[in-house]
Symmetry: C2
Subunit: 360 residues, 2 copies
């Protein structure tokens, strides 16, 4: 009987856990034994007892890494603790060095960031989508918290308050989630994306579409990287729109590359005091907003609040972990046959997601 | 020509300002000269320049207190700076000692917390209502920020997420504002109030009404204070409902008294990890929630997040100041006759709001 181990994440600020207590019975039903590293769910407010009640065995980290056949995680687990024949499933963002390290140890891995996003059978495993849905919602909650006015229109005896005007740049999963949430809260929302198909999705949510010239669909549903000239033109036209909005949420990413710069320092200077920017692309490589810093909230000289939002799913760990656990379970259900990991390189999902040749 | 002075608030954490730049033209049109204490709007992100552009004169604090006939403020201004014949308008919460101090200095004052809330002509001046509307909205934004799951129902490929269940205790202005906002965000909302007329308002917002036995309408639209026995019974029945909710927002106040204790420490212990409480009544005298502390956010041993929300309007200063400025202007428009403060003790609003006999 295969044993799956749920590890305690060690990355700084990471509060998610790969499997939530409510999904333990599903793993048991699939014929697995479930081990939980003690405290693995604590930061997401899932106590050990909740896992124990669901049928998991609570073990130490040493026992987990020694005993588990499958390691369920969010981020890469410590490579030095892995052993030959183990199978790791997580959001591993593999690069050649990492793949080589795992292969050298005889470890097989599945990375849910490699799920083919356009394949409908793979959607239940699409962890980037599930986590971006959280991030987009959270970005609006953060923006509403930082904004010192109302989002909705209010008509009161003390005057009529106009609704907040929200601009969402990039209408992938996170952007669409942000658009839907800002509209729920009563804001007037405009969305922008360089992909024509994304513009249709913005409109389907009832938001206005900002239609600049230019077109930039790329591979796998992502936007292509624009040329330097195209980017400069885009920034110039966007600046005037940015200045007219109360809240700007940026979500534009291009896989494996620096995020495009969409909002320059000069554009931020044209915004009104009290305007709010949330840059969901902020990270080590930079972000969509020139002045944003990952993990920081700053106020510019002209009173614009700029939030460099890093790893937002970790700040809503109960929701993000629950969705992620569904993704992990969906993948495991797909690859488990009679209680064992079945290797099927002809399967499109398997071929895309499993990235070192090994036991699976 | 009367001069009105907009003072810079000195209370700790207070970011509101009594008059916003957009209302300066209205005061000028009423025949007033407008003085602004330099920096008075800065914390609400209204720079001096915005007032200057609107026609105000930017002056020092000394110049303001020396030169103004009318002092517009949120909290009590320093009594020592006031002089004979001045008229103060603010949220002054007068007590006999304060009234005596002002009378001794020959100062007349109008306190917008004394506006008769049931008189429809007074509604545009009702600053408690305008500020409570902000507080109720803000309480939900805070709760959504603290809650580590989604408010709305989500149906996704990664599973169906049930909506958050929100319970609002006390359905005055703040409670109704919270109910409306939580419903906007997609939560399942239940409201509770001991006044039958408030229950009808909960229902009119589309929320469920929690109907316990007992009835407690009081004077002026407020709830009456329940007896000790009634309160104990109420707490006991509420506890079971509190435990079933993800988010609890408490807003019950009784004028001039300690807020009723609605949620005991034992009730909080029965809540789930990750549940959120926002106590809008938290203050020096205590709050509706036994474990809340004003101005603090704490996490209980069982993982419940308890926010003692103190002066929420000050954390949304642009919106709160704009609404408050409308209230101040509405009152001034009511009492100004031909550019002078008219005294009319037969007027119900004047009689209720102006509390020291003086020049007005």
């Amino acid at each position: 009987m295969l044993r799956i181990g749920i590890v305690k994440e060690s990355a700084s600020g990471e509060r998610r856990v790969a499997i939530t207590p409510d999904l333990v019975p599903r793993l048991l039903a699939a014929g697995l034994t479930v081990l939980l590293e003690t405290g693995a769910g604590a930061a997401a407010r899932f106590p050990d007892g909740a896992y124990g009640d669901a049928g998991a065995l609570i073990v130490s980290a040493d026992e987990l890494y020694a005993g588990a056949d499958i390691i369920a995680c969010v981020h890469r687990p410590p490579t030095s603790r892995l052993r030959r024949g183990q199978f790791v499933i997580g959001l591993l963002h593999p690069d050649p060095a990492y793949t080589g390290d795992l292969a050298a140890r005889g470890v097989t891995a599945a990375s849910l960031d490699l799920v083919p996003r356009t394949l409908s059978a793979a959607q239940p495993m699409d962890a980037l989508t599930s986590q971006d849905t959280v991030a987009g919602y959270r970005a609006v909650v953060l923006a509403a918290g930082a904004f010192e006015r109302f989002f909705p229109l209010l008509v009161t005896a003390s005057g009529t308050v106009p609704p907040a005007r929200v601009l969402v740049l990039g209408a992938g999963v996170a952007g669409l989630s942000a658009i839907g949430t800002a509209r729920r809260l009563g804001a007037i929302v405009t969305g922008y994306d360089i992909r024509p198909e994304a513009r249709a999705e913005i409109a389907s949510l009832g938001a206005a579409v900002l239609d600049l010239d230019g077109e930039g669909s790329g591979q796998g549903g992502y936007a292509r990287a624009l040329t330097e000239t195209e980017q400069r033109d885009e920034r110039g036209v966007l600046a005037a729109h940015v200045a007219r909005h109360d809240v700007v949420i940026t979500t534009a990413k291009v896989p494996g590359r620096r995020p495009p710069l969409l909002v320059t320092e000069a554009a931020v200077k044209e915004m009104r005091p009290g305007a709010v920017i949330v840059d969901l692309a902020a990270g080590e490589l930079g972000g969509n907003v020139e002045v944003s810093r990952p993990g920081e909230r700053l106020v510019t000289e002209n009173g614009v609040i700029v939030i460099g939002a890093e790893n937002l799913p970790a700040t809503m760990p109960a929701a993000a972990s629950t969705a992620y656990a569904h993704n992990v379970c969906a993948f495991l259900t797909h690859v488990l046959r009679d209680g064992a990991l079945a290797s099927d390189p002809d399967d499109a999902i398997h071929a895309a997601v499993v990235f070192t040749g090994g036991a699976a």
